[in-house]
Every structure is written in C-alpha cells, then in structure tokens.
Symmetry: C2
C-alpha cells in the first residue's frame, strides 16, 4: 500500500537528506529529534518537515519529537533502500574513481558492483576492490549481477551511447554526470547530477 502512494519529487529528493542526518543522530545514540532541530540543522522550515513526514503517515509526538530509528526505517522503506540495489559505474576517470571510493552508497544499500571503461590504461585496474572491465562486458555483467542502476561518468560525447547500452542491458535507472541530456525510453528513470549547471546558475545570485 505504502509503495503505491505517490510522493512528490521535491519530497523524495529531500528524504535522503533527512536520512543522512538521522543516520548521524543514530550513530551518536540520539533517540528522538524534533522538527525544529531537523529544520535548524538542515536549513528547512520545521513546518515543511512536518508536512513532508506526515506525507507518509509519520507524526512526531508533541514535546518529544520523532523517534530517530523508526524514522530511519520508514524513510529507507519508502526509498526502497531496505533492499540492496546493485549499481554499475561507467567511466573510470577522476570523477568515477571518486564515486567508487565514496563508501556512503554501501551503507545505504546502493552498491557499485561493477566499473566499466574502454581506455586500455584503465581496464584491469582495481578501484576500491572493483576491477575495471571493458564496455564489451557490460551487457553480460549487468544481467549476471542483477544491476539495476547505472552511473554515467563518461564525457558528454559518449553519454548517449553508454545510456543506450545500459537500457539495452535492462537497467532501470540512470544517474548521469555527463553534462548533456540523454534520451531513454519512458520507463527508465534518469537523474542528472549536473554540477556545471549548479555552478553556472550560482553566478546569477552574485551581486
């Protein structure tokens, strides 16, 4: 039932941010947290936070707040992070290596399980226990390892080609770091990590 509930994109986008801070609290053995504290730490309006959490039936207790571990469990459930989701990364340049070395994904059950690159210098290298494979092995590996998400960290000029191969191999979601729009069939979910746009749009707000 819960999973059929439609949560707005903006709220979905905030859930990992709540989750990250709740995990921090949990590691410090903090058991409850108020919307006020959450708002203060995350620079969000407490009323907004209460609204977000009420969205999936979560209500803090007045004067006590939210139960941290229960909220973590609930958000993980909603984000479907209570299952392991295998991830492939394509493009083992500096950015790709940075992402592989970033262990946060593993804690949250999104796990980079395979790394691909076509450069002869890269193939066979080991990055955080993963051996870089040529793209020719991508289709087979994605199916064999039940990989559902692809992270694209190749140059813009190669991104569409890689996306096509990911779709062909049966991937369900893509996080695209290449500074270009990729075209995929409608049932594939694409998120953009477009930091050049993040940076360039910053200029607008300078005096």
């Amino acid at each position: 039932m819960k999973s059929s509930l439609k949560i707005s994109e903006t709220v979905v986008r905030r859930l990992p941010i709540y989750l990250r801070y709740l995990n921090e609290l949990s590691m410090r053995n903090v058991q409850t947290v108020s919307s006020q504290e959450l708002g203060n730490r995350l620079d969000l309006n407490p009323a907004q936070i209460r609204k977000d959490l009420a969205y999936f039936g979560e209500f803090g207790k007045k004067g006590i707040g939210y139960d941290v571990s229960y909220l973590i469990e609930k958000i993980r459930q909603i984000l479907k992070l209570d299952q392991t989701i295998n991830v492939a990364l394509i493009g083992a340049g500096n950015l790709g290596v940075a992402l592989c070395n970033y262990n946060m994904y593993q804690k949250d059950n999104m796990k980079i399980q395979a790394v691909f690159d076509n450069h002869p210098d890269k193939i066979g290298q080991t990055i955080n226990h993963l051996t870089v494979l040529p793209l020719s092995q991508m289709h087979e590996k994605i199916r064999a390892e039940n990989i559902r998400v692809g992270i694209i960290t190749v140059p813009a000029s190669e991104a569409q080609n890689v996306a096509d191969q990911l779709v062909e191999a049966g991937i369900e979601g893509i996080l695209n770091f290449a500074p270009t729009i990729i075209k995929v069939p409608e049932h594939i979910r694409v998120h953009y990590a477009d930091f050049t746009a993040d940076l360039l749009s910053l200029a607008y707000y300078l005096e």
Copy 2:
C-alpha cells in the same frame, strides 16, 4: 534594469542547460533554433521553453525560431557570465581533480583560479596549471585574486569549517559537494551538488 528582474530559481537552473546546447549549436554554425527543437533535445516542453525565454523578453520568430547567438549573449548576460568570475576549489581529492580538469567552466568565464588542500602529499602538486596551496593561504589568495565563488570538495566533517573560512575571506557564493548542509550568513548563496541524494532518491522510482 534587467538585473533587477526576479527570475524563479527553476528557470535560473534551466538557463545553463539551454546555454550549453545553444553553445553546441553555435559551434556547429546553426543560426536559429525553434522551441520545438530545443524541447526535443533537452526533454522539455516547448511551451515551457517559450515561457522561460519570454521571462526575460526573448521571443522567437514564428517559423524561424530563436537567433542562437543572440540568445547565447542574452542568457550569459542574465547569468552574469559576461564577466569573469574567479573560483577557488577546496579539497584536491579525486573529485576536486576531476573538477579542475573540467575545462567547461573556463569557456563560461567561471574559472578555477586557486586550489587548496591541507594534505602534505597534495600541497605543491600541480593540477591543470594550478598549484595546490595549503588552507592557511586561502584568505590572502581569495582577496588578492578577487575570488568570489568557492567549491567545497572536502569530506563532510570538514565542510563547515571550510565554509566558515570562505565566508571570512569574503566569498559570495559556494557550491558544496560535501554531503552535508552548511550554515552561512544569509547574503551568501549556497548551491548543493548532492549526488548521494540524487542517487538515493533514484531508488524510489525503481519498480
């Protein structure tokens, strides 16, 4: 007059994406583009694009479309990219190196002008013609080079400390890659390049 016009954040965030594609068209000597073509390439609704561009008084000619180079000039003006904006990057790990090597910024007049890191192995290294400096030199360098934007690529635990130093040195905007919320005075603009949230929120949309 133009600069006092308030453009919504969503539109501002799309402008660099228009700009990137318009630059591509310009390099291919394409002189006009319709909202239909733009929409098709950027996976946006053409009506939305017309609305965005009308926001700052830009109207395509029926049957001809928009003048590519004029639109580029206009968007650059609005984003204030017609001036050079000097940028500092703090944290010369894999991610920091990837960003320094990424020359896109330079084309758009946002230029990484200084790189800082406190690790002894990093200090003195050269990344894309920039020598990595210790954080102790940050304040002086930022003022001397008129650096207005800081990119934070240090671990989450160090991000607030770095942000405080950037603010102290007189920075106006921050692009934060550390997976944590940073607190800054209200007049400082912060954008988040939070790819762990981009990735984790993707899970929600998988079947």
